[in-house]
């Protein structure tokens, strides 16, 4: 019999519904495991046992009363940039250390209504700026597959918590790859939905026109379950789409027969690690074996994606983060003697290095004299990328690509070279610029035993189809379980040991 933390959401739900286990028991099992492993993985910023047990009891009551939904009683955790009423929401920044919002993000209240059980708030790169989760005021997240490796970022805590069996599912946010990259690095499934599919109300903004909340889970079906719960129009978010979303779970196993998959030339060029190329092509073969067709295509403007992304996201961030001035909430410098000094010291002390770099970059890009050459030009590139994708979708249902040029590297390996770090986002940022949905599904391991993900990019609001394709891949290749989650949960697990697929574990 598997331990509770090894069970996917949909199996936990079945056991809860059949009264084989209780909600409190599930919550407590996860809390115990977090207590044991948090120090190694550092995926949580706040752990909230009282909230969790309270919500578990409430969920149990609902289930006993026959008023349960699919997620009732399921433990989970939020990235620490989603506002939780009464619980610190720090964005992994000194600036918001101790900030307790008096309101819930829409996703938080939605999941609360669905009866989920909050285990805590997850580590991340400060204000979601980063690709490795090394930019956290609360320290880096470690990869459950190898504690000396990065988890990927910025939703590193979300991916690592799921990979380590410290949360059955988690919510993350994705501005330029922040769900997909850590999902790939940690061997879990992650979906960045279409821009506007999930409400951003209560998500502390990094780059408003790119930010999107999405689920991370150990398998495709769980992601579908969570998406069904959180997608929908929110009157509190003007950019949320007023559309009726199709159920992602209903026809999840419909298969990929007849679907056309495009391989964008630009995504398989130089700099792509050979193991990753092989694993992604394996996923394509798997799809073809199930009746899909594939062909080459092109997204020519994607090569400018990184530049456009860093200009636009930093420009928006420079405004979004201007409100942290020490006057109303968050960190306030104790040493200031006048107003300007209050701003200068508060922001100097409260923000970390990467955040300051981006604020400076964004401020520069919007400054008069540079505005047209930088910001406006980046907007044009954005438009071109969008149009390229739409063109590619005229002949293909879904585009397939790698998630990152490399697998998870060692902590500290790239921190000295931010540009090198930014290039790691080369396959993910275009999706945000074009507002498209993209799913990452594990598809293999590299020669070091680190997980590799494949990215499936779809047309706007095609989450259902992406999940069907992801499900087809997962069914064929099996799930990839980290040694930490597969074992008894002890840190005595040899670091760097190759993870095993489900079949291997069963064998």
């Amino acid at each position: 019999m598997k331990e509770l933390h090894e069970l996917p959401v949909h199996e936990l739900a079945g056991l809860l519904a059949d009264r084989k286990i209780g909600a409190r028991e599930v919550a407590q099992a996860h809390l115990d495991r977090i207590a044991l492993l948090q120090q190694d993985v550092n995926c949580y910023i706040s752990i909230t046992p009282e909230v969790a047990l309270g919500q578990a009891d409430a969920a149990q009551k609902r289930m006993d009363g026959g008023d349960a939904g699919p997620l009732t009683g399921i433990p989970m955790a939020f990235k620490d940039n989603m506002c939780t009423k009464g619980v610190q929401t720090s964005c992994a920044s000194r600036m918001l250390e101790g900030f307790v919002p008096p309101y819930n993000a829409t996703v938080v209240s939605t999941l609360q209504k669905a009866g989920t059980v909050m285990l805590g708030k997850l580590n991340m790169d400060e204000f979601a700026m980063g690709s490795t989760n090394e930019n956290s005021y609360f320290g880096p997240v470690r990869n459950p597959w190898n504690l000396e490796r990065v988890s990927g970022g910025s939703s590193g805590g979300s991916a690592a918590a799921v990979a380590a069996g410290l949360a059955p599912f988690a919510l993350g946010s994705d501005t330029g790859g922040s769900i997909r990259l850590p999902a790939s690095f940690c061997g879990v499934v992650g979906m960045k939905p279409t821009y506007g599919a999930v409400s951003r109300f209560g998500l502390v903004a990094f780059a408003s026109s790119l930010d999107q909340i999405g689920p991370l889970a150990s398998n495709v079906r769980d992601c579908a379950w969570v998406l069904d719960a959180i997608m929908g129009h929110d009157p509190m978010d003007s950019t949320s789409a007023p559309v009726k979303h199709e159920s992602c779970t209903a026809e999840l196993d419909a298969g990929v027969k007849g679907m056309s998959f495009g391989l964008a030339r630009e995504y398989f060029g130089e700099g792509l690690n050979g193991d990753i190329r092989k694993a992604v092509m394996k996923a394509v073969q798997v799809l073809e074996a199930q009746g899909a067709v594939s062909g080459e295509c092109s997204v020519p403007a994607a090569e400018f994606g990184i530049s456009a992304y860093y200009l636009l996201s930093s420009a928006e961030a420079s405004a979004n983060l201007a409100r942290y001035d020490g006057i109303r909430f968050g960190h306030r410098s104790a040493d200031a003697t006048d107003m300007k000094e209050l701003y200068r010291l508060t922001r100097g002390e409260g923000f970390g290095r990467e955040v300051k770099t981006r604020i400076l970059l964004g401020t520069y890009a919007l400054s008069s004299g540079y505005h047209d050459a930088l910001y406006v030009k980046a907007l044009k590139v954005r438009r071109m990328i969008h149009d390229d994708f739409i063109r590619a979708f005229e002949t293909h249902d879904i585009l397939v690509s790698p998630v990152s040029p490399t697998t998870a590297f060692r902590l500290g390996e790239k921190t000295a070279d931010p540009l090198q770090m930014y290039l790691g986002d080369v396959y993910t940022v275009a999706v945000n610029l074009a507002g498209l949905p993209a799913l990452v599904v594990p598809c293999g391991l590299d020669s070091d035993g680190m997980p590799i993900g494949v990215q499936l990019i779809g047309k706007p609001f095609s989450e259902k189809k992406l999940l069907q394709a992801g499900q087809a891949i997962e069914q064929a290749l099996g799930r990839f379980v980290s040694p930490m989650a597969a074992g008894t949960g002890s840190t005595a697990n040899p670091v760097g040991q190759c993870g095993k697929t489900e079949e291997e574990v069963r064998a």
């Binding site: 989603m82 506002c83 509190m236 950019t239 701003y343 401020t363």
Partner: protein
């Protein structure tokens, strides 16, 4: 003045919406500090603005009333600057696609109509208020005003004197009040103006270097600041000095202005499209609904009153002072059929009473139909003027029907000739001295006797009838005596 004065105004007006422009907080003046705030208007992390449709309607309504072209596609932008009164450290405003552009407002200068161009009208949010407390350590911020909807009306540099600037401001104020878009309470800061002023030699096309005078909050201040600034610039030019392009602050108590910052220190607001809001696309149906809601404007009404109703220009000005009075007048005139009487009653009674009342209520206390019916009763000789006033007093502030009340108060004129004769005879009998005066040729005596007789008849008799009976009796008496 050896130079031509060139003035352009930027007028800020708070909109009279029920709630703020991006959240549900009440838009009201004078509440306890920071009690009309919420996470959204405090700019707390993760919160998002939602555009108040009423604010858009009002901005567009103001634009239509000022003859602007309305953009079918508009968007909001962020204007970035740090100041503690601005919670998000950016103001949501409109940069390159304002709701309204290219309009005009006509003003009357020395009996001539002059057209002042409007460059644009855009929607934005107001900031909070900083209270510099000399007793507390530092300043206190009140965010109640933060997020109150504001329109900025930018004129073209078409005004050529401080008086024209004031007249333009007045005309704009009137339009905003008539359309119900703003209450224009200048003392509460809901209407304020920046004056851009420059000088140039007469006949020169090119504009001179201008200064901007910030935040003038009365019509008088606009004119005075412009006069003072024109004189200051003239003196500088005369002394051979150059004008610095700068922003200045007007001190109304001192009657002087001070430099705030020069062009070199000018802020770079780093405008960019507000990503939290979607563009506003205005279709014909929406626009038509707004257009239909615009009442007839004061200028048109004044012309109508003078030309079609025979009202003197000065009176027409008073009658159009507020839309409430103008509507009252038109309704009363229509009901009683006599615009001149309606005008007299409103100016003589209604405006006087409103002036006597404390406060700044715009409610005249009666509607035009009931006022018109009172005037009609007097006009048709069914009640006396005095009874009419009595009736008006009884009706004011209530919803009583004057036609019913006139019977209940027993105000209808007595036409019973016998009663009139009896009263006249009695009065003559009781006032021999007055008779003697009359016989001595003192005309005043007739008036005295009239008054006595009317008093005896409790003011309900027709004065004409009383007068003719009295005159006949006096004649009789005269004849009888001789």
């Amino acid at each position: 003045m050896n130079h031509e004065i060139v003035i352009g105004l930027e007028i800020h007006s708070e909109l009279r919406t029920r709630s703020k422009v991006f959240c549900g907080c009440a838009n009201e003046y004078g509440a306890e500090p920071n009690t009309r705030t919420c996470p959204v208007c405090l700019g707390m992390p993760g919160t998002l603005p939602v555009l108040n449709r009423q604010a858009v309607d009002f901005a567009v309504k103001a634009g239509l009333a000022m003859n602007c072209t309305i953009s079918g596609f508009s968007k909001m932008d962020r204007k970035n600057y740090f100041y503690p009164d601005m919670c998000k450290a950016y103001q949501i405003s409109q940069f390159d696609l304002p709701f309204c552009r290219d309009g005009y407002v006509d003003i009357e200068v020395d009996g001539q109509t002059k057209r002042i161009g409007i460059e644009r009208i855009h929607l934005e949010e107001d900031a909070g208020k900083l209270n510099h407390d000399p007793y507390a350590q530092g300043s206190l911020v009140d965010y109640n005003r933060c997020g109150v909807p504001l329109i900025e009306i930018v004129s073209r540099p078409d005004m050529r004197s401080p008086e024209e600037a004031r007249l333009f401001m007045e005309a704009v104020k009137e339009i905003l009040e008539y359309t119900g878009v703003s209450d224009c309470k200048m003392q509460e800061g809901s209407l304020r103006a920046d004056v851009n002023l420059s000088l140039r030699p007469f006949g020169q096309e090119k504009l001179g270097t201008r200064t901007e005078m910030k935040n003038l909050n009365s019509l008088r201040a606009v004119q005075r600041a412009a006069v003072t600034e024109a004189e200051r610039q003239e003196a500088l030019i005369t002394a051979g000095k150059t004008i610095t392009q700068e922003t200045r602050r007007w001190d109304d108590n001192k009657g002087e202005s001070f430099s705030m910052r020069s062009k070199e220190e000018a802020m770079d607001y780093r405008y960019f499209p507000e990503p939290d809001l979607v563009p506003v696309v205005m279709d014909e149906g929406w626009l038509a609904r707004i257009r239909e809601s615009i009442p007839e404007l004061p200028q048109a009404r004044r012309a109508k009153y003078v030309q079609e109703m025979g009202i003197p220009a000065y009176d027409a000005g008073l009658l159009t002072g507020t839309i409430q009075i103008a509507d009252l007048f038109e309704q009363a005139a229509m009901t009683c059929g006599n615009p001149k009487s309606a005008s007299n009653w409103i100016m003589g009674e209604i405006l006087r009473q409103m002036k006597e009342q404390e406060g700044d209520s715009l409610d005249p206390g009666i509607d035009g139909i009931r006022l018109g019916s009172i005037i009609g009763l007097v006009e048709r000789g069914e009640i006396t003027q005095a009874s009419g006033k009595k009736l008006l007093e009884a009706v004011m502030g209530t919803d009583a029907d004057p036609v019913v009340l006139v019977e209940r108060m027993n105000l209808r004129i007595q036409r019973d000739e016998g009663a009139v004769i009896d009263a006249v005879v009695l009065v003559m009998k009781n006032n021999p001295q007055a008779i003697a005066d009359f016989q001595a040729g003192k005309g005043k005596a007739v008036g005295f006797l009239m008054g006595q007789a009317m008093g005896l008849l409790k003011g309900k008799a027709d004065p004409g009838q009383v007068k003719s009976v009295l005159e006949a009796k006096l004649k009789e008496f005269d004849g009888g005596a001789s």
